[in-house]
């Protein structure tokens, strides 16, 4: 095996010698990464500041960007909407029954905040923020965690001077932390006198209902008798059926796109508002009009728009171009066909059409 490998290596080296450059490994596979290619991808930031780009941002700059880009999920004050992450507060909770792990209360390094925003935020529109915007957001998050004052400006130069309060409370992995066979051979017989049930999942009852087996609260057939397998319950598809007036294929395509591209924040069910409003029957209706939805931006409320095809077409291309300051953090559907399909689907959700 190793002989063969040596032979291979030998051949590879020989090939390299009569070939091109010394810039090749044992197999001569791949090619040199160009400096600009490395720069394009090498955006990661470490606690010692390695990788930080030039730039700066103030708490006030950050507040503006945060309100536009982040608050829809994280809340205006980084308090977290629904189940989206809480980014501020939580001090003194780590030993409690309900630890709140925020940047201020838990995260050890500020560089992680920059690195993560740069690569993954805003959710669904990653890598769209400038360095200055990210510095600003990080400054604002420090401010919301009471770690800097409102005049603070974060930059590449002062970044590593900021230390997060919980840094010292991370320790190395010291497992195993339970007995191994060298300490005690596991007991095999008469190990306990009595056994009591101390907790039951049924009491909490948070298991999703599924169609097979004995779940969903239904009693299974009595054991000991031949029991026919339970018939799976028919599951009604919740997606609204398109009226004949619509292009059925387009509606179907739009329904798929809606689920994939919009479903994280929007439901098509009547009355079911998520991070964004329910889009049931919004076609043909005035903007910012969904009952029970309270998180519209000022500009959306003042827009005076009606959700007709033309406006939807524009909004879905790039939301912030039509309604500056909308809280909808979405890059837009760039393909004409995709917008047409989603609009057709939205139309189909308005019963009177």
């Amino acid at each position: 095996m190793s002989k063969y490998r040596n032979l291979l290596l030998g051949l590879a080296v020989a090939g390299t010698l009569c070939g091109t450059s010394a810039y090749a490994g044992p197999f001569g596979l791949g090619r040199e990464a160009l400096p600009e290619e490395v720069e394009a991808w090498n955006t990661d930031v470490r606690p010692d500041g390695q990788g930080l780009p030039e730039g700066s941002g103030s708490v006030a700059d950050g507040e503006t960007v945060f309100a536009e880009q982040c608050a829809v999920c994280h809340g205006d004050f980084a308090e977290g909407v629904d189940r989206w992450p809480v980014l501020a507060g939580g001090h003194g909770t780590l030993k409690s029954q309900n630890p709140v792990k925020t940047i201020g209360s838990y995260w050890p390094y500020l560089s992680t905040v920059y690195d993560y925003i740069e690569r993954a935020m805003p959710f669904g529109n990653a890598r769209s923020l400038s360095s200055d915007e990210i510095y600003g957001i990080v400054a604002y998050l420090l401010y919301m965690n009471d770690l800097v004052d409102d005049e603070f400006v974060l930059s590449k130069d002062n970044f590593t001077e900021v230390h997060l309060p919980n840094e010292a409370n991370f320790i190395a992995d010291d497992r195993p932390d339970t007995p191994s066979v060298t300490e005690a051979e596991p007991c095999m017989t008469n190990c306990k006198e009595s056994v009591e049930i101390t907790a039951r999942a049924r009491i909490i009852d948070v298991t999703p209902d599924v169609v097979d087996g004995a779940e969903g609260g239904e009693e299974p057939a009595a054991a000991g008798e031949d029991s026919a397998a339970a018939e799976p319950a028919a599951q009604e598809d919740q997606v609204a059926t398109a009226a004949p007036a619509f292009d059925a294929a387009l509606v179907e395509e739009g329904a798929g796109l809606f689920k994939k591209k919009c479903g994280s924040c929007h439901s098509a069910e009547e009355g079911k508002n998520k991070v964004g409003p329910s889009l049931h029957a919004i076609y043909g209706q005035p903007a910012a009009g969904v009952e029970g939805f309270t998180k519209y931006s000022k500009n959306m409320k003042a827009s005076g728009l009606t959700w007709d095809t033309a406006n939807l077409e524009q909004f879905l291309t790039k939301p912030k171009d039509l309604v500056k300051g909308t809280k909808m953090s979405f890059a837009g559907l760039k393909k004409d066909g995709e917008r047409a399909a989603v609009i057709e689907y939205l139309k189909s959700l308005t019963p009177t059409n």
């Binding site: 780590l94 992680t112 992995d173 060298t182 039951r200």
Partner: protein, 430 residues
């Protein structure tokens, strides 16, 4: 999905010792079982036998009808499932392998649990690149075709999410081993040893850490020590003989055997080499284990030995008195499974299960116990021991050591309570 009781060991010898020892154990546990009943006689002939069935007469689909074969229409319930309230969005979420519907040690590709942080990236392979940069002699870019020209290896490994069973720290919560233990799968990977690729780039002497990075919308990144990378990590493009599934990182993923699933970066596009760890979001804010005293363990990579009885379990109740097969899975990130013990009485008495090979390091291992059920309630547990001597702890032992805020690395012993009607519930016992 029929499970045949196993009376013969993988080496061909009858497992007399194991069975006899177990029968004794079960007698003690159940207070005795009546003599084996004689097979019942049918009153009338079975129509399934007497009538000519449609499939026995008419022709079925021809060969071209199913270019990519799918499971039988009668297996529609064998699917991944999720728990909607767990996460804020579907794109950063998880679903669970239906362990109770599976057998053997290999997870079918379409049933391997999913965990994404920014949805499934759909990447045309010809547009995918792997870049190696940082503390190397040569910063390199590889295409998928380049990677397939390196010497190749095939290895079977389990992959477990560090948060598997994470909902159970405070007590029994979810009714089903799919939900309590389904963030694990085990497949055969084909690909290139990471060592081979790192040697191609040439590690500098101060290279101590790697940062693999994904091409998805979360840009997943983690820090991996170089010793692990050179030991047994792989860059894989195939699972169970076919290209990776999109949800498992097509066209390329990192394989970090025995270590928490989050490190197995999917849609792998870059590996940076450095002299210090990066302390990324997924190894600081997440995937650190908060202890009762408020400190938190970090870089808790290895998945400790764990096991679970998959049948019976809440989604797979007991249907018959008399002979039954208890089936389960065991695994350890530290090595190979050496032994699995099973109790039917909540831990008073244990018997050693019959392990049906292969037994491979850092791989799911299947065990069985053949038992007679007399219709009385059971409290079933399993306890894995690996070849380092690590013993799967009880949940209370874990809580004593760590408290209940750790979220991750809950490998405590699971208890299933079988009621007299055969229904099974997730419980905890004293």
């Amino acid at each position: 999905m029929k499970k045949e009781p196993t009376d013969i060991r993988s080496d061909g010898r009858e497992s007399d010792n194991g069975r006899r020892r177990f029968l004794k154990g079960s007698l003690a546990a159940l207070g005795g079982v009546a003599a084996t009943s004689v097979a019942a006689r049918a009153a009338t002939p079975d129509p399934d036998i007497m009538e000519v069935q449609e499939w026995n007469q008419a022709l079925g689909d021809g060969v071209a009808a199913r270019p990519y074969g799918m499971p039988s229409q009668f297996e529609k319930n064998v699917v991944r499932r999720d728990v909607e309230w767990l996460t804020a969005s579907r794109e950063s979420s998880v679903n669970f392998t239906p362990l109770h519907d599976l057998d053997g040690i290999i997870t079918p590709n379409g049933l391997c649990f999913e965990r994404h942080h920014g949805g499934i990236a759909e990447i045309p392979p010809e547009k995918h690149r792997l870049m190696i940069n940082g503390l190397v002699d040569r910063e390199l870019v590889f295409t998928m075709d380049d990677l397939k020209r390196f010497p190749r290896v095939n290895r079977i490994f389990f992959l477990e999410c560090a948060a598997n069973s994470g909902m159970e720290w405070r007590g029994a919560q979810l009714n089903g081993c799919q939900f309590t233990h389904g963030m694990v799968h085990c497949v055969q990977y084909s690909g290139v040893l990471l060592k081979t690729i790192l040697e191609e780039a040439g590690l500098k002497t101060n290279a101590k850490w790697l940062m693999p990075e994904g091409a998805d919308a979360s840009g997943m990144n983690r820090s991996v020590p170089v010793e692990k990378a050179l030991d047994d990590c792989m860059v894989a493009f195939s699972m169970n003989g076919e290209a990776l599934r999109p949800e498992q990182g097509y066209p390329l993923r990192l394989v970090v055997p025995g270590w928490e699933g989050n490190m197995w970066v999917k849609w792998l596009r870059r590996i940076e080499v450095g002299d210090e760890p990066w302390h990324t979001r997924e190894e600081t804010s997440k995937y650190t284990d908060l202890l009762a005293n408020g400190t938190a363990r970090r870089f808790t990579w290895v998945m400790d030995a764990k096991s679970v009885v998959t049948n019976p379990s809440p989604q797979a109740p007991l249907k018959y008195k008399g002979p039954n097969v208890l089936s389960g899975l065991a695994w350890s990130g530290r090595g190979a499974i050496k032994r699995v013990d099973v109790t039917l009485d909540g831990g008073k008495n244990w018997v050693t299960a019959d392990i049906q090979g292969p037994v491979l390091p850092k791989c799911l291992t299947r065990f069985y116990v053949n038992f007679e059920w007399d219709g009385k309630p059971l409290l079933i547990q399993s306890r894995a021991i690996d070849d380092t001597g690590y013993v799967q702890p009880t949940k209370n032992e874990l809580r004593q050591a760590r408290g209940t805020n750790s979220i991750y690395h809950n490998n405590g012993i699971q208890t299933w309570h079988v009621r007299e009607n055969g229904e099974v519930e997730n419980v905890e016992v004293s």
